[in-house]
């Protein structure tokens, strides 16, 4: 086609006849790209693990002994149909916050907790209701709770925040979720280590710093990464607690 025969488009004039068919096809192609990509990307997202708030269980109220690891735990002594005695519940507040302030001074005391369960397989947590409805001391003598030392362990897996991992966010782990998890941990939501291999029958454990401290800030750098770490492991009821040494954390390639 010679230069003068080529259709010349001027935006404020009618589209030249020979160009109309081409532009119609171009328009269909553009819309087609959006239709195809919207459908393909939208319908091929990974399925999040079965996890989340169990509002279908209703609000749960149980009694037990508060332990500060320093992240507050409830060793259940008087349960209900869903939460049996012997269970150890990790506790969180509303949003990205823990319940350290509410639990302060209650170590070793009997307390009643009330809230909504978050569950992912065998791991669960209770998000406490606000105010005194969520956590209150109850009369009575608290029984002595046993903590079983399991020795020193080297584990491989991922550091997460326990709440998002349990389905508060779906998806709630991985590198794309790192900032959210860090924000949860800054807010004292209990941190969790997800192990690649079951350890003492469990593939997750609450993690703390050594000697009753919170998770070292150095560990925050490695949230969502595939890492190995060493620490002292103990069992509190049905929950494993790993007192992690931050200097032993190593990124594992692949």
């Amino acid at each position: 086609m010679s230069q003068e025969d080529k259709p010349f488009f001027v935006g404020y004039l009618d589209i030249p006849g020979p160009l109309r068919r081409f532009l119609l096809l171009a328009c269909l192609a553009v819309v087609g790209i959006f239709v195809a990509t919207g459908l393909l990307i939208g319908s091929t997202q990974d399925e999040p693990p079965a996890s989340g708030f169990r509002f279908d269980y209703g609000r749960q109220t149980v009694t037990g002994v508060i332990e500060l690891t320093p992240y507050p735990l409830l060793r259940v002594t008087q349960g209900n149909d869903l939460i049996k005695p012997g269970k150890t519940l990790m506790l969180s507040g509303q949003g990205k916050s823990g319940v350290d302030a509410q639990a302060m001074g209650l170590e070793g005391q009997l307390a009643e907790v009330s809230g909504i369960i978050l569950q992912r397989g065998t791991i669960d947590m209770m998000q406490l209701a606000g105010g005194r409805r969520g956590l209150k001391m109850v009369e009575g003598d608290a029984p002595e709770m046993e903590t079983e030392p399991l020795g020193r362990w080297k584990v491989a897996g991922e550091i997460c925040d326990g709440k998002c991992l349990n389905g508060a966010m779906r998806p709630g782990r991985g590198l794309a979720h790192k900032a959210c998890a860090a924000l949860c941990l800054v807010g004292d939501v209990p941190p969790v280590f997800v192990s690649t291999q079951p350890i003492e029958g469990s593939d997750f454990m609450l993690i703390t710093g050594p000697d009753g401290t919170t998770l070292p800030k150095a560990a925050y750098e490695h949230i969502g990464q595939f890492v190995s770490a060493e620490g002292d492991l103990e069992r509190r009821g049905d929950l494993l607690v790993l007192k992690i040494d931050a200097e032993t954390i190593e990124v594992i390639d692949g």
């Binding site: 010349f8 959006f34 393909l40 939208g42 693990p49 998806p171 949860c184």
Partner: protein, 354 residues
């Protein structure tokens, strides 16, 4: 073309352009937001906020990819030029889609804490020395800032205020924004994906942008505008017979500027090749209604004086011409914009019937 600034100079083609692009975006979002959950049928579905954020984020990426493909496509085949005509509207649309993506992220992942969500966005992850776990949100923030700057300065007022060369350089930020989006996605969601359909689409889109630009650049290098030969201080262009009536021959001048020599009804005139509007290639346009018409946005000029017809005020520089031994020569020193130059008649010219 306009004698005063108005928000949008609508015409039928602009309405149609926006309708088509909006139809594409709406189709993407409807399919992603409302159809795909049914197809996924997850027992524990992705949080709606995350799903929405992904829909708008992916849509913004596809929009940016389409936008960046239009430029090289129009250079490879001028029939794509109409897609360039109203691209700015599509760019502004992209900014709004990107803002929606950012809002969902901010109000979900960075909300519900005791910290201000904007502060949390900046401090929650500061692992800037790591590749895995790098705060990819920073790339998203940078891209969004670029898009906001581009959208805010997209109007012709800013082009005139900043001058077209500065405006064009500023709007080259779109390439930095796209690179940042690629990094944002690569270090973010792609790190955790098990299904790789999005990965394939994402890499395909990015490669299409890079490949089309490389191909268009190669075509420019291979068949680009030639530099004119210097003869006694004048630049040789071509024989008059080489320029068809209503069209131009473009030559590269020693100072890097381009001149477009037009044949209008057997008379030769030369003007700058750069349109006063967006520096579009006037020499690739043609004479329409006795006026040189830019192929990008239809800005028009009288080829004898480089002035837009009244009441419009745009002007481009003109050049002096002469014919020596049957060869057109142009004076490389441009006249001030709007300077009348007597056209040079082509001896014995008569129009060849089509």
């Amino acid at each position: 073309m306009s004698v005063k600034y108005i928000p949008v100079q609508w015409n039928r083609n602009k309405w149609f352009y926006d309708f088509v692009m909006l139809a594409g975006v709406v189709a993407f979002l409807v399919l992603f937001l409302f159809v795909s959950p049914g197809l996924l049928s997850h027992e524990f579905p992705i949080n709606p906020q995350v799903h929405n954020a992904r829909a708008f984020g992916a849509c913004a990426f596809v929009m940016l990819t389409v936008i960046l493909c239009i430029g090289p496509l129009a250079r490879i085949d001028p029939r794509f030029l109409p897609l360039l005509y109203n691209r700015r509207h599509f760019g502004v649309m992209t900014t709004f889609v990107a803002i929606t993506h950012a809002s969902y992220i901010l109000n979900w992942y960075f909300a519900f804490s005791k910290s201000d969500k904007f502060s949390a966005l900046l401090f929650a992850n500061t692992s800037y020395t790591q590749l895995a776990g790098f705060p990819f949100e920073a790339f998203g923030i940078f891209a969004l800032i670029c898009l906001l700057i581009l959208a805010a300065t997209s109007h012709d007022f800013w082009m005139k205020f900043l001058t077209p060369p500065v405006w064009k350089r500023l709007h080259a930020l779109i390439y930095f924004a796209y690179a940042a989006v690629v990094a944002h996605v690569s270090l973010g969601i792609m790190q955790d994906q098990q299904n790789h359909v999005f990965t394939v689409i994402f890499i395909g889109g990015a490669l299409a942008v890079a490949g089309l630009h490389a191909y268009a650049a190669w075509l420019d290098l291979r068949g680009g505008d030639e530099a004119g030969t210097v003869s006694e201080g004048w630049i040789e262009v071509c024989s008059p017979a080489d320029i068809k009536n209503g069209f131009a021959k473009i030559k590269l001048l020693p100072n890097g500027e381009r001149v477009a020599v037009f044949n209008q009804e057997g008379k030769l005139s030369a003007i700058s090749n750069a349109c006063a509007h967006q520096n579009g290639p006037l020499g690739e346009g043609k004479v329409v209604f006795c006026l040189v018409t830019c192929p990008w946005h239809g800005f028009q000029y009288d080829v004898t004086n480089g002035r837009s017809p009244a009441p419009f005020t745009e002007m481009v520089p003109t050049y002096n011409l002469r014919l020596v031994d049957g060869t057109i020569q142009v004076d490389p020193e441009a006249n001030p914009p709007g300077t009348y130059v007597e056209p040079v008649p082509i001896p014995g010219w008569k129009e060849v019937p089509a």
